[in-house]
């Protein structure tokens, strides 16, 4: 059963210079119990998509989609209150920069207890507070914080970024969500904590069947933990499919460049040799190229690339490129 089924999601921003299309017809599917990675560089619209799913974008953004289904129910057709009810019940999100997303004026204990919904706590109204306290402690243990007394009685600024991130995860899983959206959960953390966090997320996925949408700008850090992968460039979906398939044979030049620019995926590359890099830089939203947005930087761009390529598929491996890369010998 498809948990989330998004077809041709377009997110536009009204500016003085007219409409800017930040996300251009992106498809995204999520099955139950799946971990999907969403990879793209800054400004590629990954955070926008995440925010559109939980509907926290402000009024200036215009969201349209052919299909925006959550469990077969079109979210865009519902009224705001109904949307909030469903999203609040089923979807949780971990934002970037956890220490800034926590309330600086409230204790961790208060914030964590507030995030536990009443229907998770069984029993009558009497004694609910103490049960909530117990639940909060249990949640902290679950995310790997042993010293719950100190953490619960401190303010966010007193904690390190890693602990804040774990608290955010504890708050997110408090309501047993069906989908967890993790927006660059590990950018501010060092590598040992990163590994810990990913292990935590994978174990939650396996034990509870929670689906995860893992957003990152580094392909290498999340490739190991995801089943499926979607690669975005400048708001366009360039490639999606099984992680192993995409990594083994990228069809789109951008995915190829992304893989080649990481030394880890090139074990036979000698140290201190040049890395593969696309020329130029990511265009800004005001000056997006027409057609395929990779066009000006693409090594094998041709005349046809001024038209946006449609999404093509080869054995559940989707790519949008007029001239897909061919593996040697195949």
């Amino acid at each position: 059963m498809l948990l989330l089924d998004i077809r041709n999601l377009t997110i536009e921003l009204e500016t003085n210079h007219g409409l800017v299309r930040a996300v251009d017809r992106v498809n995204l599917n999520l099955r139950e119990g799946e971990i999907r990675g969403l990879v793209g560089e800054s400004g590629s619209g990954k955070s926008l998509i995440a925010k559109a799913i939980v509907n926290v974008l402000n009024q200036r953004w215009r969201i349209t989609a052919d299909r925006f289904h959550w469990f077969g129910q079109d979210l865009l057709q519902l009224s705001f209150d109904q949307q909030r009810k469903i999203i609040g019940r089923d979807i949780a999100m971990i934002y970037q920069e956890p220490s800034k997303c926590l309330d600086p004026t409230a204790l961790i204990a208060e914030q964590l207890q507030e995030s536990i919904p009443n229907d998770v706590i069984k029993g009558s109204w009497w004694g609910r507070e103490s049960r909530k306290k117990k639940k909060a402690i249990a949640l902290l243990h679950k995310v790997g914080i042993k010293d719950h007394v100190a953490v619960l009685s401190s303010y966010p600024y007193q904690l390190s970024e890693g602990v804040c991130q774990k608290v955010m995860i504890a708050m997110a899983i408090a309501k047993n969500p069906k989908l967890l959206i993790a927006d660059e959960p590990t950018t501010a953390l060092e590598s040992s904590t990163q590994a810990q966090l990913f292990r935590l997320i994978t174990s939650l996925n396996q034990l509870k069947g929670m689906s995860v949408l893992l957003i990152s700008n580094e392909l290498d850090s999340i490739a190991r933990y995801t089943h499926n992968l979607s690669v975005l460039y400048c708001g366009q979906l360039v490639e999606s499919g099984k992680t192993s398939q995409v990594l083994a044979q990228p069809y789109h030049p951008y995915t190829d460049a992304l893989i080649k620019s990481v030394p880890e995926f090139q074990p036979d590359l000698p140290a201190k040799s040049m890395l593969y890099a696309l020329p130029g830089s990511i265009p800004t939203l005001q000056h997006l190229p027409v057609g395929c947005r990779l066009g000006p930087r693409c090594p094998n761009a041709r005349k046809e690339c001024v038209h946006t390529p449609s999404l093509q598929s080869k054995q559940q491996h989707f790519y949008s490129c007029h001239f897909p890369l061919q593996r040697k010998g195949s």
Partner: protein, 253 residues
Amino acid sequence: MSCLLEVTALCKTYRKQHGLFRQETIKALENISFQLHAGKTLAIVGETGSGKSTLAKVLVGIEQPDQGEIRLAGKVVTMTNYRKYNHVIRYLFQDAERALNPSQKIGDMLTDVLRFSTVLDNLQRQQKVLESLQQVGLMDEHIDFYPHMFSAGQQQRIALARALILDPKLLILDEALTVLDPTLRAQIVNLLLELQQQKGLAYLLISKNLRLVRHISDHCIVMQHGQVVESGPTEQLLTQPQHAHTRKLMGMS
């Protein structure tokens, strides 16, 4: 091969006041020693709070060391000859966007650096500015641009130009590559490697990204609580880590 930078028994403590009489001393650096040769890259790896950034600050002269000796090309460095010193060691900040003055044109910013620490005249300065912009792959007309008109990758290039304009021998990269997007980072890494080959620049790379460390560094130091727990050639250290902390950083344990 000559030894460019030699650090012996460097110590740095911070004092933290608790009330009127009680004081707590925090040892940020304890007995740090290492050598760096010209044209090589030394990587410093460690968790946050392990003293990596303090070490960089001490080296570049933002902080004074309590004990120990920094020798630059054989001469002991004291902070009194700071002007001479900052020709040789330059610092590249983590966030280029915040390290550049938003109200100053690129050309003016680079000229200021020269005016402050060289004796070049106006024309020579102009020439030098253009030269350093070309070196990092920017164009002459960019001197009239403000920082916000550039993309993140270009801003990092400008910061690099500002660091390179004094022809330094050593460049300290304090997490300068971590925040960049992968394809931009590949570009900057290529640029840095090229400069190293051409000019024999030495780098001190402070990074959390072990994959990057493996690719560009020759030697590697692992720090924990202000102490060096392990050091050695990068390839050897990362394939056969001896210390438990190194293994933890690599996510192996």
